[in-house]
Structures are given as structure tokens and as C-alpha cells.
């Protein structure tokens, strides 16, 4: 008996150990890369604005899309009394069959009438709102308009007195079973079909969306003070009766009588309204949707979803139907995993485009900064650990700011570039910014240049522009606002940015922060105000305009930035760069810099994506930033030089730029400004080369010196000691 007991016990012990050992292999926070779980079908819809027309009031009801199209003829009349000739059409489109019905409507006899929201009812008629101004625009009324299926007005009811709203502009209209729910941003009204008020709820916060469940329960998505809230309205329409806290900025849509859908720019969530249980359905990028502007999301009877959103890239609305993939549809393509701390809009757009068109592979994005991110450092550590463990095929290291740190995990791209691209077509300095030890490790798409400028009238005072010249200039202008954000840390940063390579020799693993130059930089920084006294209200643009500031940071991501400062400064600007032993130095910042990991098993497919990404044509919504491809940047420059003319052929401003205190009109760029931009790009240095860790050490050690607790010698000695170890270790 005893022996049997011992045997059983020992078997149990072995089993227990086995279980515990098997558990060691899996972590709770393990990165999971699922295959494609959903299939997306696309229906291109309608441009929001075209020449002589624009569309609005889009709504999706089952398979039917309804929207209002406003067409206008060219402006007519004398100079001081232009008149437009507008016609309105309600478009009803079956998104399944493509069948379209255009119904011309006349919303009012008045020319001062503006359509609001229109919806199609179950019987094919239409209901909508119209805002009408009196001739002198002194009086305004809001009307409820009922139209038959042919667009003829059946009934027009003035609801202004009924709803008694301060703001009569109705931006939400929901068809409920027993009436209509209207919203104007902060108030929600329920009226019957005759326009009589049933109930009203006012909120102090912005209402982002109003929706109903099939049974008629009304939900609103409100910007709560500590995040977004979904609130349901009681049956009597007198108050809210339930609140659900949700993450991120989004809109709610009724799904079924049990649940609602919550849509953010990241993805779609289903929330059970009885239990508040939340289920993440999918992220938009995983179902090949690139938009942050959703108008409608519907859950269909077969469990699929239909979403309508605005596609900025093409300037069109798009409707997609998303259904669960069949087993036969899963895993037919190779999965390329793209790891990124934060996905930028350019990469996102390209991923969606690639996934929609490539028949061999799909990109799966793993983003480390999301709504749950609490600590930047922790997320970055996890990203780095996963990179080291070979979890990705591609990485976007733009946010990490130091490619050199990760080169052991990255594949040099030189061979791919030589094979498929003409290196001469790309800005050499930008490629250098993504290189380490002579090898290119990342391919960026766009870039900017950080530099320093001075008003032309002071340009001859900078000398050869070394740290000594900077210190001398400070002494000369000690009573003037020397620089924007003029605090001690910022001043030190400015002094070191261009001269970093004179203090640090990464290849030799040596530094000389105990040199006289560095001590001078420390002493220079100490003459500024402390970081606690940072003046957040300082109007630097105004100061440039009135010549009350000497040096100003110029962050050039497009030509407009040069134009902005050139316009602000009386007499123009001179871009002088950051002081260094060789004179002014401009620093390149590369964006959307994609790398292939050395552990990737799909290096060729990963390169295929990079290639398509950098060669992609800019869309209508593309940023006008400098492109790594010279020809594309040339085109941007050329476009910037084109003048915009009014009816009489006079040049008008292309854009107006303001910082809240000072406004600037930007006109067509001059040849001089374009030359200035090219000169800066061509002279720019590969990168600042300032490792985050080194910057951290310097800023940390300077504080006791700035607080008069240490001498400049002691401070320099400690910095030298700590940075030296860092460099030796990296060697």
C-alpha cells in the first residue's frame, strides 16, 4: 500500500514538473502573428468633391448607400455679386449590384437654403433637414423635409420652435422606429415624424456620433473628460441610463440588439451592452483599410461587416465588405512581419496598397505603441527584444533614432540597392544618414533637415561659426533673446549638435568631453534660464518679425518652412546651421526608414515591399515633404514655384500659416528660396550622431553644474568617464 502510494506520488511529481516545464516555453505577452482571418471586398464609391460638385450626408442602410450631391455651375455675375447656381441630387446606390438612382430635388424656393442630413426610409422615400436663412441672413430656421421616392417634397415642417436649439445646424440624423433622432454637436433631440419634440438631452461635451440598435435603443459616443464614453439614452428620452468607457477617439454604431460596434482609427470592437464585455474584431490595417475617417460601420445579418470611409489618398469614399475568411482562403500568401514602434501614415498607406495588390505576400504590421501603452521605454524595450529574437522581417527604425545600435539585427541593403535601383537618383546624404560603418541599413522615403537660421542683417557676425563664435555671439548679445526655447539644456544641445563628432569618435571608442571646447559649451549653456522657466507662450514668429530674437531653429520638411522664415524676417534669412569646427552644419532626419532584419526568411519579399514603398507615387493627399528620390523632390520644388492667381490674374497667397499669435501668408517660392533649400540638403550632414544614451548622460550630469553644486571641471570629468565607458563598450 505504502509502495503504491510512493509510486503514485512520484509519478504525480514527474507529471507536475513536466507541466511546469512545458509552461516555461510560453509567455503571456508573446507576440502572436495570425494569418489573414478576414477577407475584404471593395466598392469604390464617389468623390467627395470634384470640379463643380461636392457630396455629403453619406449614409449606409443595408446594401443601400444614400448621399446628397450638390452640383454648381461656374460663378456668374458682376465682381461684387457672384452667384452660384446650385442643383441638388439624392443618390441612392445599391452597393451590391452597382445600380444607381439619381433623384433631383429642390429643397427650397429660397436661395439661402442649405441642406443638412438626408436619409432613405424603408419605403424608399427620403427624410432630411434643411437650414434656411432670411434674405438679410438675420433669421434662420431649421426644417424637416419629407420627400417621395422621386424627390418631390411631400411635407416641410419648421422644427426651430419645436427643438428650441441655439445651434440649428443639424449634423446627425438617425431614423428610429418611432421618430427621428437629431444632433447638433452638444444636444440630442428626438422628434416624431411630424416634427414634434419627444425628448431632448443636452451635454457639455462634444457628441462624436449617434446611433441606434435595431430595436431602437439610442447610443451616443461622447468625448468624456477622461476618454471616450458610449452612453445609452433611456426609453423616455429624458436622460442617459448607461455609460461604457472606451479607449481612443471613435464612433459607435448599432450592431444588433445585444451589442454595438465601436470604431476607432485603429480598428473595430464589438461591445456587449448587457455585460459591457469588449471584443476586438480586427484592426483596419489587417483588413487592408487605410483611413482614419469612418462614416459608417454596419454589421450584416450574415456576420460580415460593411464599412464606409473616406480615402484621403484618392479623394474618394470607399465601401468595404469584410467577412471571415474561409479555411481555403487562409495562409495562401507568405506573411512578412513589419515591426514598428509607431506606424506612420506613409508606411500604413503602402502596406494596404501592397496587401491589396501583391499576390505572393502580405505585410502584417506589429505596432508597439497603442492605446494601452503606458511607458515609452517599456514598449521600446519589448520592441528591441522582439527584434533581437527575430520576430520581424521588416522594421521601421525611424523613431529609434540610432540605426547603429541595431545593425547586428539588420541586413545591409547595399546589394539590393545596387541590383534594383540607381543610387544616383537618390539623395546621397540621406542614404548616408541611414548607414553605419559604410553600409546602408535602412531605406527612408522622406526626410527633413534641422538647422539654424539668423536674420540676414546679423549674418556677417557669426564668424567661422564654431563653438567659440557661438560663445562670442552670446557675449555680444547677452541682453537680447538669443534663441528660441532658450533654456540651459536647449542651449547646450544647440552648442553640441553640430560639434558632436569633435567630442566623440565612435570608431576609436573615445571621447573628449574634458576638453576646453566642451567646458566652454557648458559655460555658454549656463548663461541661459533654467529648464523650469521655459516660456511656453513665447511668440517666436512674432519675435523674428520684430527682430527680437537672434537665432532660430528651422526644421525644414518642405520648402514652405524656408518661405515661412524668409517671409517672417525683415530682409530675409540666412541658414547658418549648427556651429561646428568646420562651420555651420545641417542635420538630416530620415523618415519611414525601413530595414530588413538579418533573421528574416523572406528577405527578397521584404525588399520588394521596400522598393514599392519608396517608388510609390505620392497621392493627392501626399505630404509635400522632401522625397529621397531627387526627381520627386524636384517636382515638389517646381510645384512650389508655381504662382496661384485670382480671377484678374493677380498672385494670391497659396496658404496662410499661423502659430496662434502671428500669421504669415505664403506665396509661390522664389528661385532663391529653392536654391537655398537645395544648398541645405546638399551640405547637410548624415546625422547628428548623438546617441540617446549619450545625450541622456550629458543632460543628467549638467544639472548639478547648472545648479551650482559642481564645478565645470568636475562635470566634464564625470561626463567623460561615463560616455567613455559607453563608447568603449560599443566598440
Amino acid at each position: 500500500m505504502k509502495k503504491t502510494f510512493i509510486k503514485v506520488l512520484s509519478i504525480a511529481a514527474i507529471g507536475l514538473l513536466g507541466i511546469s516545464l512545458s509552461a516555461c516555453g510560453k509567455k503571456d505577452d508573446e507576440v502572436k502573428f495570425d494569418t489573414t482571418e478576414y477577407v475584404t471586398e471593395y466598392v469604390e464609391v464617389e468623390a467627395r468633391s470634384e470640379e463643380n460638385s461636392y457630396s455629403s450626408s453619406f449614409s449606409l442602410n443595408g446594401d443601400y448607400l444614400t448621399y446628397l450631391k450638390v452640383e454648381y455651375s461656374s460663378f456668374e455675375g458682376e465682381e461684387d455679386s457672384y452667384e452660384s447656381n446650385e442643383t441638388f441630387k439624392l443618390i441612392s446606390k445599391n452597393v451590391k449590384t452597382g445600380e444607381e438612382k439619381q433623384i433631383p430635388i429642390k429643397i427650397s424656393e429660397s436661395t439661402n437654403a442649405y441642406p443638412g442630413e438626408f436619409r432613405m426610409t424603408k419605403d424608399g422615400s427620403f427624410v432630411g433637414t434643411v437650414m434656411e436663412y432670411s434674405e438679410d441672413f438675420e433669421e434662420v430656421n431649421s426644417f424637416l423635409v419629407n420627400l417621395d421616392g422621386n424627390g418631390s417634397i411631400i411635407k416641410k415642417t419648421n422644427i426651430s420652435d419645436s427643438i428650441k436649439a441655439d445651434n440649428l445646424y443639424i449634423n446627425s440624423l438617425i431614423l428610429a422606429n418611432d421618430g427621428l433622432v437629431l444632433g447638433n454637436g452638444q444636444d440630442i433631440y428626438k422628434i416624431d415624424f411630424d416634427g414634434k419634440l419627444i425628448g431632448k438631452i443636452s451635454t457639455s461635451n462634444y457628441i462624436n456620433s449617434i446611433s441606434t440598435t435595431p430595436s431602437g435603443k439610442v447610443f451616443v459616443c461622447i468625448d468624456g473628460n477622461q476618454g471616450m464614453n458610449i452612453k445609452s439614452i433611456n426609453d423616455k428620452f429624458t436622460d442617459f441610463d448607461q455609460t461604457i468607457d472606451v479607449e481612443g477617439w471613435g464612433s459607435a454604431y448599432g450592431a444588433d440588439d445585444e451589442s454595438i460596434l465601436y470604431c476607432t482609427y485603429r480598428g473595430l470592437q464589438q461591445i456587449n451592452i448587457n455585460t459591457n464585455e469588449k471584443k476586438d474584431l480586427f484592426s483596419w490595417i489587417d483588413v487592408d483599410v487605410d483611413s482614419t475617417n469612418f462614416d459608417s460601420v454596419v454589421k450584416n445579418a450574415d456576420g460580415s461587416f460593411t464599412a464606409m470611409y473616406y480615402d484621403y489618398e484618392n479623394g474618394k469614399y470607399e465601401i468595404v465588405k469584410i467577412r471571415e475568411a474561409l479555411d481555403s482562403e487562409k495562409g495562401s500568401k507568405e506573411t512578412i512581419v513589419l515591426g514598428t514602434y509607431y506606424i506612420d501614415s506613409d508606411v500604413r498607406r503602402s502596406v494596404v496598397k501592397f496587401n491589396r495588390t501583391n499576390s505572393n505576400a502580405r505585410i502584417k504590421v506589429v505596432e508597439y505603441m497603442n492605446d494601452d501603452t503606458i511607458s515609452y521605454e517599456d514598449s521600446l524595450k519589448k520592441f528591441t527584444a522582439d527584434l533581437g529574437n527575430g520576430a520581424f522581417d521588416l522594421v521601421d527604425l525611424s523613431s529609434s533614432n540610432s540605426i547603429g545600435k541595431y545593425t547586428k539585427a539588420l541586413e545591409p541593403l547595399d546589394n539590393y540597392i545596387t541590383k534594383d535601383l540607381d543610387k544616383n537618383e537618390y539623395f546621397e546624404k540621406v542614404l548616408e544618414a541611414c548607414s553605419y560603418d559604410g553600409k546602408i541599413y535602412a531605406m527612408p522615403k522622406t526626410f527633413s533637415v534641422s538647422t539654424l537660421a539668423i536674420s540676414k542683417k546679423h549674418a556677417d557676425e557669426i564668424g567661422s561659426w564654431t563653438i567659440k563664435d557661438l560663445v562670442a555671439l552670446r557675449k555680444k548679445y547677452s541682453d537680447k533673446t538669443f534663441m528660441e526655447r532658450g533654456t540651459q539644456s536647449q542651449a547646450l544641445y544647440l552648442a553640441l549638435l553640430g560639434s558632436f563628432d569633435t567630442f566623440v569618435d565612435e570608431n576609436a571608442g573615445k571621447c573628449n568631453f574634458d576638453s576646453e571646447d566642451f567646458k566652454e559649451a557648458l559655460e555658454f549653456a549656463k548663461t541661459f534660464k533654467t529648464d523650469d522657466n521655459f516660456d511656453y507662450d513665447f511668440d517666436s514668429w512674432g519675435a523674428i518679425k520684430t527682430d527680437d530674437i537672434l537665432l532660430f531653429d528651422v526644421y525644414i520638411s518642405s520648402l514652405e518652412y524656408i518661405q515661412l522664415f524668409d517671409t517672417l524676417a525683415d530682409g530675409g534669412i540666412e541658414i547658418i546651421g549648427y556651429p561646428s569646427k568646420d562651420g555651420g552644419k545641417h542635420i538630416i532626419n530620415a523618415y519611414s526608414a525601413l530595414s530588413i532584419t538579418s533573421k528574416s526568411k523572406h528577405k527578397d519579399l521584404a525588399w520588394e515591399f521596400i522598393k514599392s514603398f519608396i517608388n510609390e507615387e505620392e497621392g493627392s493627399y501626399g505630404r509635400e515633404s522632401f522625397n529621397i528620390h531627387k526627381a520627386k523632390t524636384d517636382a515638389i520644388m517646381k510645384k512650389a514655384m508655381e504662382k496661384e492667381l485670382d480671377f484678374e490674374g493677380n498672385e494670391v497667397s497659396k496658404m496662410s500659416w499661423g502659430n496662434g499669435q502671428t500669421d504669415v501668408d505664403i506665396y509661390a517660392a522664389t528661385q532663391e528660396e529653392v536654391d537655398m533649400a537645395y544648398e541645405v540638403i546638399e551640405k547637410a550632414s548624415s546625422s547628428a550622431g548623438m546617441d540617446d544614451e549619450v545625450v541622456q548622460i550629458i543632460l543628467e550630469e549638467c544639472q548639478p553644474y547648472f545648479n551650482n553644486q559642481k564645478s565645470v571641471e568636475e562635470t566634464a570629468k564625470v561626463i567623460q568617464s561615463r560616455v567613455n565607458i559607453f563608447l568603449q563598450e560599443r566598440k
Partner: protein
């Protein structure tokens, strides 16, 4: 008859062996998976260029690491620290044990007080140390009030001594307990005979107690050596990954190489450190064998 008994005995022995193996299997499996296998993986990593191409590079990684300035600095600092921490923690632990082996008032309370540092989390200790010896800490406040210059303890050579005190405070209690139990296991009759033979306390201590304590001294020394080589958490929490050069230890070097994904450097440094410890421990065994053999006999 005899043959049948013999067979039965053999079968019984075989069953016993099988049972013993069954009982040992979980432990052996655990030791193999978590100690032996990783050790060989580390050796493998130290002999290849990188985990992807995995080209055998011989001792190239060893040459690179031993030439690395940071590794040299870390090794010298660690050896320096161990050379101070190890003897101090053994000698002070022994002195405390001898004192507490006597009949003194509040003996058990004092013993407990020396054990409490083992129960305090490192983060709490670090917090207290920061309050005390930070540049704006209590100690500097006292110094400046008396007209003396404030010392940036962790950004100067004084930092090593602060860490040494912290190390001793944390480890002395455990060493003391080990010595106390060893002292209590010395045969009383031998000590009584020595008293009867008019031996002095010094002679009893040196000729008898030290001899009987030799294996415990060796054990405590090895333990202190390993602990001193591993000193990291306190330094990291107090000064970060790149401290003032006198506080830069081998563990800091290895932690940083891990963060920068340089597994070859990390593995090679770990092997070199292990070799150094094996040599030192081997030497300690030889010493112990020499001094303690008559007790064992």
C-alpha cells in the same frame, strides 16, 4: 536455492536503481535543461560570428572581448571590488558569529537584526541609500552645514565604498548564520579537553575552531566571491547602465551588451567570467585541502 536468492536480490537492486532514477529524473531533466544545455549554448554562441550565418570563428570573439576597453575596465573594477568585498564579508561574518556565539544579552534579537537585510527588497534599499548619499542627500546636507564640500558619492571614487558597505550590510547576516552553525557543530569534548589542558582562547580559536571551520570558510568565501562578481542590481538602480567608471562591473557590461543585442560579446564575456571564477574557486579548494585535511582525517 542460493541462485534463486541471488536473482531475487539482483532484481530487487535493479528495481531500486530504477526507482532512484525515476526520482532523480525530474531534477536531472531540470538541471540539464536549465543549466547544462544553456551553458553549452553560451559556449556555442561565443564561437560563432552571429546567430544567423553561424560561421565558426574560433577564439576571435575572445580576442575582441579581451581587447575591449570596457570589458577590461569592468574586469578590473570587479576584481578590485571582489578583492575588498570577499575577505571583508568572510572576516566580518566570522567575527560577528564568534561574538554572537557567546552568551551576551539580546543575542537572538541581534542575530535577527543581521538577517533582516536579506528580507528587504533591493529597490527599498536603493531608495534609502539615495536619500542618504545622493548629491542632495542627508549626508551631504550634514557636510555642507559644517562648512564642508558636498560629495557626489556615486559620481566619484567614493561610490565603490558605498556599494561595498551596501554589499556587506546585505550579505553579512547570512555568512554569520553559516559560521554560527559551523561553530556549534565543533565537538564540545575537544574544546573541553583544550580548556583542561590550559590552552588560551587564541590557541583554541586558531588551533581548533579555525581548523573545524575551514570547510565553512571555504563555502562562505566561494559564496561571497560569486555574490561580489554578481554585484549589479544596486549599482544599476542607483546609477543606470553607464555609471561612473569605478562602478562599472562585469555584470553591467553583460547587461548592456544584452540590451544592444550583442549576444556574441555577451556569451564570450560570460564564459571568461566563469573561467576566472572556476580558477579562483579551484585555488580556494587547494588551500582548504591543505589547511583542513587533518580535521577530516
Amino acid at each position: 536455492m542460493k541462485g534463486r536468492n541471488g536473482n531475487q536480490l539482483k532484481k530487487k537492486n535493479a528495481r531500486r536503481k530504477l526507482g532512484a532514477i525515476g526520482f532523480l529524473a525530474p531534477s536531472l531533466l531540470g538541471v540539464f535543461l536549465f543549466f547544462i544545455l544553456p551553458f553549452f549554448v553560451v559556449i556555442y554562441y561565443s564561437l560563432i560570428d552571429n546567430p544567423i550565418s553561424a560561421n565558426f570563428v574560433g577564439i576571435e570573439n575572445y580576442i575582441n572581448v579581451t581587447r575591449n576597453g570596457a570589458f577590461k575596465a569592468a574586469s578590473i573594477n570587479t576584481l578590485k571590488f571582489s578583492a575588498m568585498a570577499m575577505p571583508l564579508s568572510v572576516i566580518l561574518g566570522l567575527i560577528l558569529a564568534i561574538l554572537l556565539d557567546r552568551k551576551i544579552p539580546l543575542r537572538s534579537q541581534i542575530r535577527t537584526s543581521f538577517l533582516t537585510p536579506m528580507m528587504v527588497p533591493v529597490a527599498s534599499i536603493v531608495l534609502i541609500v539615495q536619500v542618504l548619499v545622493d548629491l542632495n542627500g542627508v549626508v551631504n546636507n550634514i557636510l555642507t552645514r559644517h562648512g564642508l564640500q558636498a560629495i557626489d558619492w556615486f559620481k566619484s571614487d567614493y561610490g565603490l565604498f558605498v556599494i561595498l558597505i551596501l554589499f556587506l550590510w546585505k550579505n553579512l547576516g547570512y555568512n554569520m548564520i553559516l559560521f554560527l552553525s559551523a561553530l556549534e557543530s565543533i565537538p564540545r569534548d575537544i574544546l573541553e579537553v583544550a580548556y583542561l589542558e590550559s590552552a588560551t582562547s587564541w590557541q583554541i580559536f586558531w588551533k581548533i575552531k579555525i581548523r573545524y571551520l575551514s570547510s565553512t570558510i571555504l563555502f562562505v568565501t566561494i559564496l561571497s566571491l560569486i555574490n561580489s562578481f554578481k554585484v549589479f542590481r544596486e549599482i544599476y538602480l542607483l546609477t543606470g547602465g553607464y555609471p561612473y567608471d569605478s562602478l562599472y562591473m562585469l555584470q553591467t557590461f553583460m547587461n548592456n551588451t544584452f540590451v544592444s543585442l550583442d549576444y556574441q560579446k555577451l556569451s564570450t564575456a560570460a564564459i571568461i567570467m566563469s573561467l576566472a571564477m572556476i580558477i579562483i574557486i579551484g585555488f580556494l579548494f587547494i588551500v582548504e585541502n591543505h589547511f583542513g585535511k587533518d580535521v577530516e582525517e
